[in-house]
């Protein structure tokens, strides 16, 4: 008797087994889905300390402050800043706090139709400037650290070039500054988008429409495979909770004010003005040569939204002599949420800031510097970096130092998807997050009105 070419009996046996397994899995999955699930995102306590129109300033306080200056994090207008504090064990914010860095984070809120006329200038020179002035005043500091994410990073670059005297160190993460590349599909599509028509028609660019666009960048993985893997792991509570947290974050998409969208597409994606120092905000040119503070530029090797080619030109164009590029083997979201990057990304920023934060111990109190500036207005205007000359000299001259975390390669789109949907069991965090953090820097500005925060604290509100 000859051996059959295809082992039909084995296939049938396997089918019977998998049917049985599916039955058990479905039973367990229904118990999990119908039972209580911990899917809360943004679990770290914060205080809303400043409000203006739709925006809020979140303040995260470490148990012990080990840095002289706080860090202001500016997220993009697309999706929400909660990604930086997705869950315990996958929280960049928590990493910063554990290491004693005080964090402020702008929550851009949900634009309504009345916000349609807000331009990039309004976001950078009004909201960001007011927030930074508020923090500087609150901490009696001349300069603070600034970190930007994606489009928020581009805003930070613009701000730092226009107001270098207020920023001590700048960290840009997955920040597009060079839009003249065909590497990312998004760049190709955006250049073909009729931004004027979209802005005129939608007023604010709908978040859901943009999300659909992001899903269409890799439909096989993001529309099909992602949910197949969910069904496969429905009997794993940890997986389900992580998956739902990610879903909550991904589809929580505020609209983008129409004028900002129009300007970003036209000036950046179409005309690539930012990297060429040709961008103008309210008539003022964003000259990257005026960006003189230390700059750390981090991006993802497999980022299909903001490819490395869109990020790595920045350090060569700025006026700063202390710059560093860092390319991580990850994608656009994985850089913040994958457990692998949690061990590299946050610690790198902390150590980089620590080096540059310590140099400023000799900094004069704000009042004294203000008096100094008043004495020499011309000098201040021509040399915006308010750091003393000695400090400048002591700054390390690492011109465009480039460090790549590892050499591993993979298929970009698939890799990115895997990382964004990565669902590992969460690690237990030792820090007691619910404890009220110790305040070291006091004296907030007199608030014009007050509002309740998530933690029940009061905040300043600018009407």
């Amino acid at each position: 008797m000859t051996q059959p070419k295809i082992a039909v009996d084995l296939i049938m046996k396997k089918m019977a087994e998998s049917t049985e397994q599916s039955h058990v899995k479905a039973k367990r999955a229904s118990e999990i889905l119908l039972g209580p699930l911990d899917t809360e995102i943004s679990p770290t306590p914060y205080e809303v300390v400043y409000e203006e129109d739709r925006i809020k300033l979140k303040h995260y306080m470490p148990k012990e402050v080990k840095y002289k200056r706080p860090l202001l994090v500016v997220y993009a207008l697309i999706n929400r800043e909660t990604m930086l504090d997705l869950q315990e064990g996958r929280s960049v914010v928590q990493t910063f706090l554990d290491n004693g860095l005080e964090v402020y984070m702008i929550d851009w809120g949900y634009p309504t139709r009345k916000d349609q006329y807000l331009t990039i200038d309004d976001h950078v020179n009004v909201y960001m400037d007011n927030v930074i002035d508020f923090i500087r005043k609150r901490h009696e500091l001349e300069q603070i650290h600034l970190m930007g994410i994606c489009m928020g990073g581009a805003f930070c670059v613009m701000y730092s070039a226009l107001h270098p005297e207020k920023i001590k160190n700048l960290v840009t993460t997955v920040t597009p500054t060079n839009f003249d590349t065909d590497k990312g599909l998004l760049h190709i599509w955006m250049r073909n988008t009729n931004a004027d028509q979209m802005a005129d028609c939608y007023k604010n660019m709908p978040g859901d429409l943009m999300n659909l666009g992001f899903l269409l960048l890799n439909p096989a993985r993001l529309i099909i495979d992602k949910y197949i893997s969910f069904f496969e792991n429905m009997d794993n509570k940890g997986f389900v909770e992580n998956f739902i947290r990610m879903e909550k974050w991904i589809f929580d998409s505020p609209d983008v004010p129409g004028e900002t969208f129009r300007q970003f597409i036209t000036d950046c994606y179409r005309e690539n003005r930012l990297i060429q120092s040709r961008l103008e905000l309210d008539g003022k040119r964003v000259d990257l040569k005026k960006l003189t503070m230390p700059l750390l530029n981090i991006y993802g090797k497999f980022d299909h939204l903001v490819p490395p080619e869109a990020c790595d030109k920045l350090t060569k164009q700025v006026g700063s002599k202390d710059t560093e590029d860092m390319c991580l083997d990850t994608g656009h979201i994985g850089i913040y949420v994958s457990s692998k990057c949690q061990k590299i990304f946050g610690p790198k920023i902390l150590s980089w800031l620590k080096e540059r934060d310590q140099e400023q111990k000799a900094e004069q109190p704000r009042a004294k510097e203000k008096a100094k500036a008043e004495k020499k207005p011309a000098e201040t205007a021509t040399e915006p970096d308010a750091a003393p000359e000695e400090t400048k000299k002591s700054e390390p001259k690492k011109a465009a130092k480039k460090s790549t975390a590892s050499k591993k390669t993979a298929e970009p789109a698939a890799k990115e998807t895997k990382e964004t949907e990565e669902t590992e069991e969460t690690e237990t965090r030792a820090a007691a997050k619910s404890k009220k953090p110790k305040r070291q820097v006091a004296s907030s500005s007199a608030p014009k009105s007050t509002s309740r925060s998530k933690t029940g604290k009061k905040s300043a509100k600018k009407s």
Binding site: I11, R113, I188, N194, A220, A413
Partner: protein
């Protein structure tokens, strides 16, 4: 000869003329208004004041006038030369309908033919990772048919007081149709990688079966398929054809949305609520004022 006179008597023109004469004599012989139970309010006071009589006379005059116009028109139509003209004008309507129908049928058959060709090709070999054979011609023809045969009806200039409203309604319908055409093309194109991936998968399974390397783990097949699908999508999404169709669809959607809002704004005027246009104008004023106040506040702060 007798037959001829018989034919001429039963010809449509003769019958029409006879019918017109009969109708005319019916209306001529019609007793003047009002009949026995004429319009009366039945009010005694009205009767006393002679109001019923006045009303009756007014109606009478109006009725008689209409009757005269009708009979005059009928007399004119009953003239032999006018009878012919009337018949010719009646003949143009079916001719017009025939022309219209023929044009539409031609276009419909053309689309049908394209679809048939497409169906015929279903079983043919599908080259993987290639999108040169995308049959966009079908959608192009359909769009052309719509633009040449149907769209013009929405662009017929409207007249009168409601002209603008009618224009906006027509524009809304037109943009809706264009959007439907665009989205169908987009969805069709978006489905192609599926079709191609199934075809490639089938071939790979055949090869495996021939080699006797058939997996008993279905997940392995799924992984194989999703990888093929992803590759096809990446090829499609990078193609200029896809970018073009996607841009067209987004544009069509935006134009449809705009047309819909314009049309709805007309309807909203009937309700005591502000339209989006009015609100947008208000928001703009607030935005400008706020900006000015902020600038002034900064200036005041600087001075103090």
């Amino acid at each position: 000869m007798g037959d001829q006179s018989q034919n001429s008597k039963t010809s449509p023109e003769a019958l029409f003329a006879d019918w017109m004469k009969t109708t005319m004599s019916f209306w001529e012989g019609m007793p003047s208004w009002p009949p026995a139970a004429g319009p009366s309010s039945g009010n005694d006071e009205d009767r006393k004041e002679g109001k019923t009589g006045e009303t009756k006379n007014r109606f009478n005059r109006s009725f008689e006038s209409s009757q005269r116009i009708l009979t005059a028109m009928m007399a004119a139509l009953a003239e032999p030369e006018n009878v012919n003209a009337s018949f010719k004008s009646l003949e143009t309507l079916p001719q017009f309908m025939m022309n219209l129908g023929q044009q539409m049928m031609d276009n419909y058959l053309m689309v049908q033919q394209k679809m048939t060709e497409r169906i015929q090709r279903t079983g043919e070999q599908v080259p993987p990772y290639s999108f040169d054979d995308i049959d966009r011609d079908l959608f192009k023809k359909f769009r052309e048919m719509y633009q040449t045969e149907i769209q013009k009806y929405f662009n017929v200039p409207s007249l009168g007081l409601n002209r603008l409203y009618q224009d906006r309604y027509n524009r809304f319908l037109d943009k809706f149709n264009l959007y439907q055409t665009a989205i169908n093309e987009f969805l069709y194109m978006f489905y192609i990688p599926m079709e191609k991936s199934f075809s490639v998968m089938q071939e790979q399974m055949e090869t495996l079966a021939e080699k006797g390397e058939f997996h008993d783990d279905f997940k392995a097949y799924y992984n194989m398929w999703i990888k093929i699908l992803e590759g096809h999508y990446m090829t499609l999404l990078k193609s200029p054809e896809y970018t073009e169709v996607m841009t067209q669809t987004i544009d069509a959607l935006a134009q449809y949305k705009q047309a819909k809002e314009d049309f709805l704004a007309d309807l909203l005027q009937e309700f005591p609520v502000p339209t989006l246009k009015e609100m947008d104008a208000l928001y703009k004023d607030i935005y400008v004022l706020k900006k000015r106040v902020n600038d002034l506040s900064k200036k005041v702060e600087e001075k103090t």
